[in-house]
């Protein structure tokens, strides 16, 4: 399998990754090789085997009591934000 330049650009767009023009052929080559490599799974007869999403199957999702456990720590969390004002995260203008 060989991915085209346009396919890499489309994957990078879906993944929200800006690539340098020089990076594109590198990923074309390595992603194609990786997909060839994982493609060997096609040859395995999996019949009606159920897909396994979790290593401890049989374990059910635990629920917690519907009670407030979090305190307002927005200042601590927002100390890591690139840009905040008045407790709000700032981003470039979205709506004109």
């Amino acid at each position: 399998m060989s991915l085209t330049r346009a396919q890499i650009e489309s994957i990078a767009y879906l993944a929200r990754l800006e690539l340098e023009p020089a990076e594109i052929p590198v990923y074309q080559e390595s992603l194609s090789r990786i997909l060839d490599f994982v493609g060997q799974l096609d040859r395995i007869d999996t019949g009606d085997v159920a897909p396994m999403a979790h290593p401890l199957e049989g374990l059910t999702q635990r629920l917690r009591p519907d009670a407030v456990t979090e305190q307002d720590r927005h200042e601590v969390y927002q100390a890591n934000a690139p840009q905040v004002a008045g407790g709000l995260y700032l981003v470039p203008k979205v709506v004109e």
Partner: protein, 507 residues
């Protein structure tokens, strides 16, 4: 010792205590904890001695990303007060290091990435909090492959870590900083994580003991996520006994982790000495493949002879689907990683690009600049296999084969108590030797990934050398059989001294 020992006259000016502290790093965690409790030395003295070793080795090894000197000395002084008051925990005053993937409140946590270069954790990971509560003193944050994606520690934004046995060679990865630090005795033990072999492979390549517990045994809360159905926290130390001691303090139910398992933690130390007579050991046939270095295979067979001498029986066992572990992993792990790493958006935390034109530009350039080449490769692989039209062919198919691999393990454990084999196909390789081709690099984890896919506990113990570099024996157990595999490792270490060897220059 070291430099000063050459000038005979300086000996007399140094107190016996100082000389003692020069070699204190040769002790195990168990010995250090006992020495602290007996007040043979203080935690402040111990921490100073290790900090000095860390500073002296940093240029050669690059094992640490951050050294938290003043916090460590404060914590050590507090531990000394606790010990004096008779209320110190089992690890009171013992220095350790954390892989820089565990959140540490108030301390920078980079995950080996430029993306988190300025990230200061708002809280402690549960593992960090539990070790703190047991009295351990954190000396700093250890280098690692970026977001734990790598098998050689060469993908770190903060530079590669070097193997203390030979600094032209890699330490393995992704927990390369943790492994190199323990091997060079810069800390007696360290935390690490294992998604596809990231504890066991560097343990093997650095000649130390590495333990990955059962999925769900140790909380993932505060661990920066890579592949959530595979990630598990564990320990790197110099012996199975020390690994058991640390694991006992780290393990346990945590309501903050929805995949944490609510079953009691046994006392891993209590079972260490149990005799191996009658134990049934299965040697995984598929691991003796053409990729395995023949000298490495001899070390494994010698180790099995030791276990047989102790009364265990060894037979070959076949797990026919196990060779599919690597292709399954390179669908499942990138898929989960592309989803987990979507949170790095340049908005709430992490790197943000300069002067974004609009929101899309902000996302794309922040991520493009913040992530390194291997992380981008995996995010894109994951994006592709999850995208419309490919989901069934790649992702669901891989999850079905994952089920077959897990069933192989289950069948094997019906006949044997533990499974063994090599941890990695070869000893450490030279820096740069495998960076050109991702598949070559991925195949380093061919023997370790299976345990992650099935969620099984597995460890690596040093079992000798190949060309002057250490190699490891891997022991895999059924779910929650940590005590059993630690028992095998400990009995082996009572008969051998591979785990006591330390690299020249760091002895």
């Amino acid at each position: 010792m070291r430099r000063r020992s050459r000038a005979g006259s300086t000996w007399s000016r140094r107190s016996l205590n100082e000389v003692f502290l020069d070699v204190i790093h040769r002790n195990s965690i168990t010995q250090l904890a006992a020495g602290l409790r007996a007040k043979k030395f203080s935690s402040v003295e111990l921490v100073r001695a290790y900090l000095q070793r860390i500073e002296a080795s940093q240029t050669a090894l690059n094992a640490f990303i951050s050294v938290t000197r003043s916090e460590a000395l404060e914590a050590a002084a507090a531990a000394d007060r606790d010990i004096a008051a008779g209320r110190g925990g089992p690890l009171a005053g013992v220095p350790i290091g954390h892989k820089d993937l565990f959140c540490t409140a108030g301390v920078r946590t980079t995950c080996g990435s430029r993306m988190l270069g300025n990230f200061v954790s708002p809280y402690d990971a549960t593992v960090v909090a539990k070790l703190k509560a047991a009295g351990a003193v954190t000396l700093g944050k250890l280098n690692m492959d970026e977001f734990a994606m790598g098998s050689s520690n060469e993908t770190s934004y903060y530079g590669p870590v070097r193997n203390p046995w030979n600094t032209d060679f890699v330490p393995g990865g992704s927990s390369g900083g943790s492994a190199a630090a323990v091997a060079a005795r810069l800390v007696p033990g360290a935390t690490a994580t294992d998604t596809g072999g990231s504890i066991r492979q560097p343990a093997a390549l650095c000649g130390i003991t590495g333990m990955k517990p059962t999925y769900g045994r140790v909380s993932r809360y505060g661990m920066i996520a890579f592949a959530s159905s595979l990630d598990q926290a564990g320990v790197l130390a110099t012996s199975a006994e020390d690994a058991a001691l640390m694991l006992r303090e780290m393990a346990g139910f945590d309501p903050n982790d929805s995949t944490s398992v609510n079953t009691p933690v046994p006392d891993y130390l209590a079972a260490l000495d149990a005799p191996l007579a009658g134990m049934k050991i299965g040697l995984i046939k598929e691991f003796l493949d053409e990729g395995l270095d023949r000298e490495n295979e001899r070390r494994i067979r010698e180790a099995l002879a030791v276990l047989e001498r102790l009364g265990a029986s060894v037979r070959e066992v076949s797990l026919p689907n196990l060779p599919l572990s690597v292709p399954v992993y390179y669908v499942v792990a990138p898929a989960e990683c592309s989803s987990n790493l979507a949170r790095y958006d340049g908005v709430r935390f992490g790197h943000r690009c300069k002067d974004p034109r609009d929101l899309n530009d902000l996302y794309r350039r922040s991520r493009g600049e913040g992530f390194g080449a291997e992380v981008k490769r995996r995010v894109m692989t994951g994006t592709y296999v999850l995208s419309a039209g490919y989901y069934d062919a790649y992702y669901l198919k891989a999850q079905r084969v994952r089920q077959l691999i897990t069933a192989d393990f289950k069948r094997a454990f019906a006949d044997v108590d533990v499974l063994v084999g090599p941890t990695s196909p070869t000893p450490a390789f030279r820096l740069g030797a495998k960076t050109a081709d991702p598949i070559t690099m991925y195949l380093n984890d061919i023997y370790t990934i299976g345990a992650n896919l099935a969620g099984l506990p597995a460890l690596s113990v040093p079992c000798g050398f190949v060309g002057g570099l250490p190699v490891g024996l891997q022991v895999v157990g059924p779910h929650f059989a940590e005590a059993r595999i630690l028992n095998v490792a400990h009995r082996y270490q009572l008969e051998t001294d591979w785990h006591q060897k330390s690299p020249e220059g760091f002895a």
